[in-house]
Structure formats: structure tokens, C-alpha cells
């Protein structure tokens, strides 16, 4: 569906917040913009450690878009850490790994959803609809 159609389906402004965790600047910009268009207020960090730290500072998000491969702390470690911290947000793994074992390891770390990179409007909408149903 087109973005304007997507906007008429979802009215998320003020309802959903998100955290983008990705070391790739191009992915950061695309995901940030994608979320903005859907009216989802979002924050962007560059690796898993920053994702953990922002939660330690007291911030919470409905949705976390977690890249797998990042320096300092990768997506698998960060997901495990956040779950250990009691974070129950929807965590959607976003990765370019197509090998099933690698995908499985990421999912088992505590993901609610998994999508191949790059994210599209449609993929993001399906992730967001899961949050709405969770609530």
C-alpha cells in the first residue's frame, strides 16, 4: 500500500514510541524517516550498548528495531540484556542474515518479530500492528 494509505489506516501519533538500534547510517536515516511518516516518535542509537544505556537512563519505548550486527554490543547481546532487565517492549530484529541458524539465534535472544533488511513500509506496518494487538 502507499504511504498515504498507510497513514489513513494507522493513527499512531503520540501512541507509539520507538527506538532504532543500528550502526549503519543509511539504515538509521531510512528507519527514522519511516517511523516519522507513520507518526511514531523515535530515537536512534548506534549500537546495542547505547540501546541498553538509554533504557538505564529511564527511557522506555513500545517498539525497538534491533539490527543484528553492530560494534561494541551486537543485537543478540543487547536483546538478551534488555530482556534480563525486564524490558517487555516489542523487539523486532532487523537483519541481513538469511541463514536460518543465525536467524534462530537472534530470535531466541528474545525477539518478538524478525524481518530481513531493508525494512519497508509494509514490513514496518506489520510490526506495528503487533504492538497494537499486544496492547
Amino acid at each position: 500500500m502507499s504511504t498515504s494509505q498507510a497513514l489513513s489506516v494507522t493513527s499512531l501519533k503520540g501512541e507509539v514510541t520507538a527506538l532504532v538500534v543500528d550502526d549503519d547510517k543509511v539504515s538509521q536515516v531510512i528507519h527514522h524517516h519511516l517511523l516519522n511518516i507513520l507518526g511514531i516518535e523515535n530515537h536512534v542509537v548506534g549500537n546495542g550498548k547505547e540501546a541498553v544505556e538509554i533504557h538505564l537512563s529511564g527511557k522506555k519505548f513500545n517498539l525497538i528495531l534491533m539490527d543484528r550486527d553492530m560494534p561494541v554490543m551486537n543485537g543478540i547481546e543487547a536483546t538478551k540484556k534488555l530482556r534480563d532487565m525486564g524490558i517487555r517492549s516489542t523487539i523486532a530484529g532487523v537483519s541481513s542474515h538469511s541463514v536460518s541458524q543465525e536467524r534462530q539465534a537472534f530470535i531466541e535472544a528474545g525477539l518478538d518479530d524478525y524481518h530481513e533488511k531493508p525494512l519497508s513500509v509494509a514490513k514496518l506496518l506489520s510490526v506495528v500492528s503487533k504492538i497494537m494487538h499486544k496492547a
Binding site: 543509511v26 531510512i30 531493508p118
Partner: protein, 151 residues
């Protein structure tokens, strides 16, 4: 005011040829979907960011290919990042060459890596030229033409 009425058509044709010739894939269309009146140059901005940001990766791979013996794990890791970034802008041919490079890393084929990297760089440079030409023409045609796409 004089206006070149052929420009929108030229822009559309140029855009279509980039897909037909395999330079771009569906992901580029996804980027176009994110472009609107509030962000009329989004696609061009992302592509510019890609070329700026990936330059360091290209340099790192180049340096790593100069070493002896080759560290295939490191090369593969760099290329994984580069491939991810390239696929984010829909760079189909660049992405294909990246995959080939990674295959050579997996089999420890140094010559294959070196040869393929030349192809990666060639496709990377070609795509840049073609997209620059496209964006320039689209800007001349006017914001409405630049933001719209034919199905």
C-alpha cells in the same frame, strides 16, 4: 515562462531504464514512497549519505586487500556491511558483486576477491553517475515530477 514539456517524460524514461538495466531494485521504490512534499529530496539525500558513508568502507576493504596474507573474516565483515548499505538504497548490481565477493571470502579465494572488488567499485561508480544524472534531471523537471513515480 518557458517550460520544457518533455522533461517529465524524460525523467520517467530515465528512471525506468535504471530498473530495466538492473541498476536498481524494489528497495529504491521503497525510498521513493518515503518522499513527499515535506521531504521532497529524501531519496537524493539518502543516496548522498550512502556514498559519503560507504567511502570509508571501500577504503578499509582496499587496505585489507593490500595485506598479506588476506584476512578473509575481516574482508567478509566489511563487505557484509557494505552490501547491507548498498541494498538499502536498492543498488542491485552493486549488491550482486558484493555477494560474489563474499563467496570468494568464504572459499578463501584471494584472487577472486581482488578481481571482484574491482567490479564492485566499477558498479558503485557507475550507479553514482547514473543517479546523479537522474536526480539532476528530476530537479530540473520540478518537485512534483521528482516526487512522483509511474507504476
Amino acid at each position: 515562462m518557458e517550460r520544457n514539456n518533455h522533461l517529465p517524460r524524460q525523467v520517467a524514461l530515465m528512471r525506468q531504464s535504471l530498473f530495466d538495466q538492473g541498476y536498481l531494485d524494489e528497495q529504491f521504490v521503497q525510498l521513493e514512497e518515503l518522499q513527499d512534499d515535506a521531504n521532497p529530496n529524501f531519496v537524493e539525500e539518502v543516496v548522498t549519505l550512502y556514498y559519503r558513508d560507504s567511502a570509508r568502507l571501500v577504503a578499509s576493504i582496499e587496505q585489507a586487500l593490500d595485506k598479506s596474507p588476506l584476512d578473509f573474516n575481516k574482508l567478509d565483515s566489511y563487505m557484509h556491511q557494505f552490501k547491507g548499505s548498498s541494498s538499502s538504497i536498492g543498488g542491485r548490481k552493486v549488491k550482486a558483486e558484493c555477494s560474489q565477493f563474499r563467496e570468494y571470502c568464504r572459499t578463501g579465494n584471494g584472487e577472486g576477491c581482488i578481481r571482484t572488488f574491482q567490479q564492485v567499485k566499477r558498479e558503485y561508480a557507475t550507479l553514482r553517475k547514473k543517479l546523479e544524472a537522474y536526480f539532476q534531471l528530476a530537479r530540473q523537471a520540478g518537485p512534483r515530477e521528482a516526487a512522483s513515480r509511474s507504476t
